[in-house]
Amino acid sequence: MIKKRLRKPAQVLATASASGGEWIYSKTVKEHFFHPRNILLKEPKKGEFDAEGAVGNPACGDVMKMWIKVEPKTQRIKKLKWRSFGCATAIASTSMFSQMVTEYGGMTLEDALRLTPQDIMKRLGGLPPYKVHCSVLADQAFKSTIENYFQKFPEEAPAK
């Protein structure tokens, strides 16, 4: 099922690049934009997530919501879901961010907090300069989610 869904974008890419020439976004940005990972499609069930966060303002053209599930002992991120009203860059960078923090068994909160918008951008294969600020939203939404997590589970918060 997953494989089948991954095939489609490749076809879309081929057709679009044949007719459209150069895209302003990298192939990876495009792929994540058309097939965003870890989107929360249904309202979360009670207890499905440990914390949630939100940033942005519809008037500015970007709103991002994020939910996380953390394994308490290891503080690894088991699940990170999100939703976004935003441009292609905001969608692609959050999709990439969600992949980065959940791949290989999940990042620890500490490591995930060290990720920078530059790290996301690198994995995306770069962004047009005027779109760089849109990649910051994922980072901000994540920080707001973690803040919520530590409020709910103060015992897990790093000692100040």
């Binding site: 879309v12 057709t15 679009a16 044949a18 007719s19 459209g20 934009f33 058309f34 965003p36 989107i39 499609l41 939100a54 942005g56 519809p58 008037a59 500015c60 053209g61 709103v63 991002m64 919501k65 999100w82 939703r83 976004s84 009203f85 935003g86 441009c87 292609a88 969608i91 047009p128 005027y130 600020h133």
Partner: protein, 388 residues
Amino acid sequence: MNRIYLDHAATTYIDDAVKAAMEPYWQNKFGNASTIYKEGCDARSALNAARKNIASLIGANPDEIIFTNGGTESDNLAIFGIARQYKGGHIITSKIEHHAVLNSCKVLEKENFKVTYLDVDKNGIIDLKELKKSLCKDTILISIMYANNEIGAIQPIKEIAKVIRDYKIKNKNKKIYFHTDAIQAAGYLDLNVERLGVDLMSVNASKIYGPKGVGFLYARRGIKLLPIIYGGGQEKGIRPGTENIPSIVGLDKAFEIAQKMREKESKRVVSLRDYLIKNILKIIPDSSLNGNQALRLPNNVNVTIKNVEGESLILYLDARGIACSTGSACTSQDLEPSHVITALGKSREDAHCSIRFTLGRKTTKADMDYLLKVLPGIVKKLRNISAI
């Protein structure tokens, strides 16, 4: 994939007849129109013929046509040309002008000109009473676009001209000039300068199936314009530089065709436009038309689809073979939402969710049906992932 191009307000492809008309002037008749030998005479006679024909199409004299490198330059020449010639004073424009006008006015504000930016109503139309009130003893120039590039709103140019004329008569024939940016209007509306009552008018070729990088400014006899660039004596010294003959010939041909077919083409496109508007509003929940349906260009559809960010929608439609845009193509690298949509009284959020389809000569009902077929699914997908 077949492409469906619905961004004719951004630019158009070149018409076959226009391309053919330009053809001799690239290689065979390549001369410099300022020279006196045969090659130069050939170029000059093409230049003169184009000037004469364009003038007759707008009811003007040939010496009132100044060729430029396009719409932005025509607007700049009109505004700076008048402002710097008549030094100091007051300019009136509207909040929904193209940036070629707005940003020129902003520069003049730094040069101590006072600028009034007229509001528009929810249909995108200026208030004549507000215009009347804004006129003052220092006013030297009024620049109001004929039809808006984003929402297609058509301004009452004749009525505006009358308000200005009445004011001038009342104030002992004071010198006030009325400029209109007719770039979007040129393919669909009457551009006769006598009927319109304008003193200056900008037109370009690339929106009317002509080449890019060429346009003209109509400037009524007796108007002194200070050039914005300096060089030789071409275009009476107002716009120096070796004349771009192939493009000028192309502009002339394109403009002639556009004006000849405008009434018939308007009728055809209006029915497609209204079909598209009606059906988008019917099948897309929480969608609304920006601007008024009657007071708009025959080829313009601009809608707000709530919770669907414009750029994302464009890219999804692009992947399905449809080309369209959010507002002005010039602002799509800009992160600010459309100044036109917000001037209608809509929220910034609604402006971020606006999308523009502009139809053209090859647009068919089948194109509209294809768009209407793919649009709901894309809207649904983007709304599903939306955080609002």
